[in-house]
């Protein structure tokens, strides 16, 4: 298994590094050039959100962790914000609790738009998406087809 993991202090400046790494590893994993922009944007959104989760927690020095894995014919990215949160119930998850603001509604308050636009972008970009929260932190997991190369043939 070819895994790359990036950990960084929850600071906005490192989100770029995460985008850079994700795009470079995705390209090498054989993700289509046309999809790389999506990967870059999605991982950036997930990391921005993770950094934002740390904003009001001055004493919290847990890092954000980005795990890139090109096993099983897919390129997957997992972003863990490192902020322990109450787990969402299955029922709430099924309803997409708080994940998808209804931005198409004219009356949608622009405050909501500002707060939830990150997830809206991810939801709009990524087909294979999984969001979980728990004592280990909030985790966004996304994956894309990684083209011909499998982890075994690389290297």
């Amino acid at each position: 298994m070819a895994i790359v993991e990036l950990r960084f202090s929850a600071l906005p400046e490192h989100v770029r590094t995460a985008r850079l790494v994700a795009a470079a590893v995705a390209r090498r994993a054989g993700v289509a050039e046309t999809v790389l922009d999506e990967v870059r944007l999605a991982v950036g959104e997930a990391c921005s959100r993770a950094v934002g989760m740390h904003q009001d927690r001055v004493d919290d020095d847990r890092p954000v962790t980005v795990t890139l894995d090109d096993g099983n014919g897919r390129f997957s990215i997992e972003v863990n914000d490192g902020v322990p949160q109450p787990a969402l119930t299955e029922a709430a998850l099924a309803e997409g609790a708080g994940l998808m603001p209804d931005l198409s509604t004219n009356g949608a308050g622009m405050d909501v738009i500002e707060n939830e636009m990150g997830l809206a972008v991810i939801l709009g970009l990524v087909d294979d998406l999984d969001v979980r929260t728990g004592a280990e932190g909030g985790v966004i997991r996304m994956s894309w087809p990684s083209g011909a190369k499998s982890a075994e043939t690389v290297g």
Binding site: R16, G44, E45, S48, L125
Partner: protein, 113 residues
């Protein structure tokens, strides 16, 4: 690549030319710029995004914030953007319904708001 910002006035509008990456790290600079313009009494803004390489939701948030500020003064905030990958982000988030988006600064100036 970093964010670049330059402003000029033309046809009674203030044009903010943005270049580089607008993300969680650089967006605060764009926010400051927009706040400053509004504080100076410039309420009709055109943000030219043709030189933007990367835009994320933090950048969108700053633009929405700018729109709210100018609207509070009966102003306007229009965008210039023809790059498909940038337009896509406005489309995904439904913000094409919120911002007037034009193919050039000239068209943006010519448009009645």
């Amino acid at each position: 690549m970093d964010l670049s910002l330059s402003t000029r006035t033309e046809g009674g509008r203030t044009i903010v030319e943005v270049g580089g990456e607008i993300d969680v790290y650089t967006a605060p600079k764009l926010r400051e710029q927009l706040v400053e313009l509004v504080n100076e009494g410039q309420f009709h803004l055109i943000v030219d995004m043709e030189a933007v390489d990367f835009l994320d939701s933090t950048g969108l948030g700053v633009l929405v914030g700018g729109l709210k500020r100018v609207r509070a003064h009966e102003g306007s905030l229009q965008l210039v953007c023809t790059q498909e990958r940038i337009l896509k982000i406005f489309r995904i988030t439904g913000l094409t319904k919120v911002f007037p988006i034009h193919p050039s600064v000239a068209v943006a100036i010519a448009s009645s708001d």
